[in-house]
Point group: C2
Chain length 267, copies 2
């Protein structure tokens, strides 16, 4: 654990959240010792955090194995329900998916990642399961490119200076100068098209969702099988419907009731 | 806060999680004082928890207002990705929704509530937005009745002894003896049909998902507009497809790879 924290820092909150995050697809159930090892805690400390989470209903145990309980979803749900965007976007996503019969999602930027906040799937394209909460590096996704292109120049420069590009496929953008050129193109044309840069066989098209001030606050995409859709057919058949839907979401978001409109800058 | 906790109890973890849960649809942004009041904390304590959550990336602030950040979704995502069920169920849900053109969901029981763990929507029926993580009292929903009917007798008796029935509509089951009779019927027929007991205009049909030992571990439903579907048409047109799909999910779940199969009893 980081020892150089501010005086206000509540270390037991950090540790308790780390215990929750020790559980995932590869580790759905862990013993006390496994949690202690994963979180770099003593067994005594791990035991206190685990039993506290059991008391609070976030964890269940048979005495030896521990697993998260559905109550953990309430924490993420607190975030989702505090957001106007998914509620505003979902009926539009549903109509778009009914029209084009391809999956459509909405993402926001969190640090250097895109995070899914709404999704209407049709058929399984990706080899990984996408849920609300799934995150991917922004540079390799169409929604990420729309969101990066919408950053103020200064923030974009900082992002490009720190980002490490990983080649997920042979087509993934390889240099920050190529990425910058692509983002400038996205700014100009008002959408992003990514052709199998995150995963072989996956093409995706994204458009910006804007707030009243014109800032890009989210992105909406349509993702398709590369074997069933050419880049040209996506531009011709899907792009107009995507742009129209994203514009409707932006319009609805801009008239969302004041109670639900963010008072936080850039939110 | 509860003062009668076990010696192992980490109160600052409880308080930090309470701070996260202070934010919701009606309170997407809160000041320090508002958080202190909502969580029954001193301003100094609320400040420490809020700033710790900001440091960890779970919260953002402009100095005065605080709001949750998308990273909070990772906590719920840890639970979802630790679960085999949504991954196994989703392709089946998608095929069912494509066939019947009505929304379909999967719930598990958590305490006395059903909690959504997978959902494929078509059109907005409910007046409240349903996300993964949404919960409703089990007795008023078709999935809840399937899950309650699957409880061992002893657990069901305890549930019926403690449950307080709220009349969400004029049709909501009003007595525990009527509820018990309905649950016995559900056990016998292998499905539940709920007609506008949770919300006017909403009918829902649910079937059990079973593990290898035959225990009911989840429920799958189809929900429809009452104005477009009679109870008879639901039994005739939707029930066979729902039962078939739930059986397929059960079969897939029972052969899920050992790594992802729960070692926790009843899980």
């Amino acid at each position: 654990m980081d020892q150089s924290r501010e005086p206000h820092f509540v270390q037991s909150l950090e540790r308790g959240l780390a215990v929750i995050r020790a559980f995932d697809a590869d580790h759905p159930e862990l013993t006390l010792s496994e949690v202690a090892r994963a979180c770099d805690l003593t067994r005594a400390a791990a035991r206190r955090f685990l039993l506290t989470l059991v008391d609070l209903g976030y964890m269940r145990t048979d005495g030896r194995l521990f697993a998260l309980s559905p109550r953990v979803l309430e924490l993420g749900y607190a975030y989702l329900s505090s957001l106007t965007l998914p509620e505003v976007a979902e009926p539009h996503l549903e109509r778009l998916v009914a029209q084009v019969r391809e999956s459509s999602s909405v993402c926001v930027l969190d640090g250097d990642d895109v995070v899914y906040v709404a999704r209407v799937p049709t058929s399984r394209i990706m080899t990984v399961t996408i849920n609300v909460g799934t995150r991917f590096p922004a540079y390799a996704t169409s929604m990420g490119r729309v969101l990066l292109a919408g950053l103020p120049d200064e923030e974009l420069d900082k992002y490009l200076a720190r980002v490490k590009l990983v080649a997920f496929t042979a087509r993934t953008v390889g240099t920050t100068s190529a990425l910058r050129a692509e983002l400038m193109k996205v700014r100009g044309q008002g959408y992003a098209l990514v052709d199998q840069e995150l995963e072989e066989g996956l093409r995706s098209l994204a458009a910006p969702i804007r707030d009243r001030a014109g800032r890009v606050v989210a992105a909406m995409n349509i993702s398709v099988h590369a074997s069933r859709n050419t880049v040209d057919s996506m531009r011709r058949d899907l792009l107009p419907k995507l742009l129209e839907t994203a514009a409707k979401v932006s319009a609805d978001l801009q008239v969302a009731t004041p109670r639900r409109t963010s008072r936080l800058a850039g939110a």
